[in-house]
Amino acid sequence: MAKLEFKDISHSYEYSFGTVKDRNKAKWVINDLNVTWEDGTANALLGPSGGGKTTMLNIISGLLRPTEGQVLIDGRDVTDLSPQQRKIAQVFQFPVAYDTMDVYNNLAFPLRNSGYGQAKIDKKVRETSDLLDLDEYLSEPAGSLNEGEKQRISLGRGIIRDDIVAMLLDEPLTLIDPKLKNGLRRLLMRIQRELKLTMIYVTHDQHEALTFAQYVSILNEGTVVQSGTATELYENPKEPFVGFFIGSPGMNFVDCNLKGGVLDCKGFELNISHKLQEKGVESEGDMKLGIRPESIAVSKEQQEKTHPFEIQVIENFGHYYILTVEGCNSRLKVQVSSEMDVSKGEEIYLSFPADKLILFKEKKRIL
């Protein structure tokens, strides 16, 4: 297993193909990325489609040569090496297995190709099938298994070689029946831990990414907006996009102006001088206030420092409601317990706890 690195990686299909000759006029799908995936860690690349996830994955595996920058494996430059030479295993959305071949031979296939001897092949197939709970199917044709089991074969074919340095998973659960997903997800996590694999998991699904990975990189419009653990991304988004993308529903944003410790939200004001002082923030001017639906306090009666909003939509999530409310020139989502009695059109009073407020200036977090 190994550590993987991106050094100043940028990619433009147009510029690489030469269809656009001017560097500045070309469209760059990936911009100046510097990322490190540490040895033995479970990582995810998370972002909306069109954000550059697949391009990044193909650059790691070697299917695509980046226009600029270097790919390093354990510090060694592999930018010009083929996928075979890099020894990176890949699992895709569609299970890759030969339906008419039995499970044993499906697993043995990559080893035969690499010239392993029969005794060694047999030992590796037994180890791998044991790890993946496939041992009882070894003599069955792959075609007779369900999609979840077939995806386990793909996984097995990836990890069966001794010399692989990392494993890439491209939305491996997207097409799997919801009932089989949980088992497969657990299996993936167990294998990652037992074999201490360096894994990179690509998905647009925050649930998959945050559940699977220790470290998640949020990718948007060709850049890694933020990397961190699930808790870090949820509690400390560095940009509005992360606040919006992580959490369901995402963070609320209100355009505002900060002056003299008072946040003017164009409809209500919040005095945050105490918090600004505590954090040593001196910046003023136009900003974006971010607050999570679950951080807003809701009351049925007007109190000091509460602001009136009218309920527009009530969505029931069982143990809580998500209310879409309008008032004070803003439209917000707030979460309340389903034990609270609420009705559409009703006026409720919101307050915004100072310790839960996040401020962004020009898309960067300042508080």
Partner: protein
């Protein structure tokens, strides 16, 4: 006023797709039919819409028998997942197409109607674009605008969110609910996702192998799931179902011979030996308290869903899901002590899976 089905059955080959279904939908209701794939949800929608013939039973709109009326003669519209009728036409033309086909609207009337509905669904800024240039969520809204533009009284939506990623689903649900509250008639929606059903609907029905196991007001179904399958499915995350044996001496239901759940207040309703205890993940937590019994288990999986964490805890071979209302982290294999609130349990009959009683009253 509304839709009524009386004893409707439909068979495909040897498979009963709908098995003696009767129900009533009133105008003003948003109804979600929920159930695993292949339970009969789509067929039910198609039968209501007139897209499918019946083997038995009758269908009524506003009290009038419409069983033999073709779909064209009914005032309805149908929306499928990620479905655009004319990929080469602009969003505007896609929405306008049912009006043009009807041949009774002037150009000005069409323009007015298209703009009204586009504004309602917040797609008025993309009317000139082609379907391939817009997002999945916008495409879905275009399909709904098209369904609404003729003023159809009943709109049937067959898993309209299935292909959208979760951020778009989130946004779309709110929009759909808001749109619905400003119109007449009813929305009838089929989905496999219990969250869709909870978030959107006023009424819900649970289908299982072609049978409508339960139908009613959403809160009522949530509070009184008639079968363990309904309770398990109609829950976010799924309800924990654990088998236990009644202990008459102690007035408890015993699980794995160790965990004793006090059922003294409902003893008179428990006549049998074997039960299934249903516990919602929200009713298990880390805090001790009155009427709470402890369980010690091992963490086997921690799933982060939205802004919450679902912890899967292995307790004596049972996988117990616990819901934490924030994003938390524990290492796998950690021994975890949790507390079950015994005043909020559902007790189901082990044999026929029906709800026998609940603890702790309402």
């Amino acid at each position: 006023m509304g839709i009524e089905l009386k004893n409707v059955s439909k068979t495909f080959g040897r498979k009963k797709a709908l098995d003696n279904v009767s129900l009533k939908i009133d105008d003003g209701e948003f109804v979600c039919f929920l159930g695993p794939s292949d339970a009969g949800k789509s067929v039910l929608l198609r039968v209501m819409a007139g897209l499918e013939t019946l083997d038995e039973g009758r269908v009524y709109y506003d009290g009038e028998d419409v069983t033999d009326l073709t779909v064209r003669k009914r005032n309805i519209a149908m929306v499928y997942q990620d479905f655009i009728n004319y990929p080469n036409l602009t969003v505007y033309e896609n929405i306008a197409s049912p009006l043009r086909v009807a041949k009774k609207y002037s150009k000005r009337e069409i323009d007015k109607k298209v703009h009204e509905v586009a504004e309602l669904l917040n797609i008025n800024k993309i009317l000139k674009q082609n379907p391939e240039e817009i997002s999945g969520g916008q495409r879905q809204r275009t399909a709904i605008a098209r369904a609404m533009v003729k003023g159809a009284k009943y709109i049937f939506l067959d898993e309209p969110l299935a292909n959208l990623d979760y951020k778009l689903r989130e946004e779309f649900r709110t929009q759909l609910k808001e749109t619905f509250s400003n119109r007449e008639g009813a929305f009838v929606y089929a989905t496999a996702d219990p969250i869709d059903a909870m978030a959107l609907s006023s009424h819900t029905g649970y289908l299982y192998e072609g049978r409508l196991l339960q139908y009613g007001d959403i809160q009522e179904v949530y509070n009184y799931p008639r079968y363990s399958m309904v309770g398990k499915y109609f829950s976010n995350p799924t309800m924990n179902l654990i088998e236990g044996k009644l202990n008459r001496n102690d007035k408890t239901i015993d699980i794995s011979g160790e965990l004793k759940i006090n059922v003294a207040d409902v003893m008179d309703k428990l006549k049998k030996e074997d039960y299934i205890v249903g516990i919602r993940p929200k009713d298990i937590g880390f805090h001790e308290g009155e009427n709470k019994v402890p369980i010690v288990g091992e963490l086997s999986l921690s799933e982060i869903v939205g802004s919450e964490t679902e912890l899967h805890i292995d307790y004596q071979g049972n996988n117990i899901i616990v819901l934490e209302p924030e994003i938390v982290h524990y290492d796998y294999g950690t021994k975890i002590k949790i507390f079950v609130d015994t005043t909020r349990l559902f007790i189901f009959d082990k044999d026929d899976k029906t709800l026998v009683t609940k603890t702790g009253g309402d």
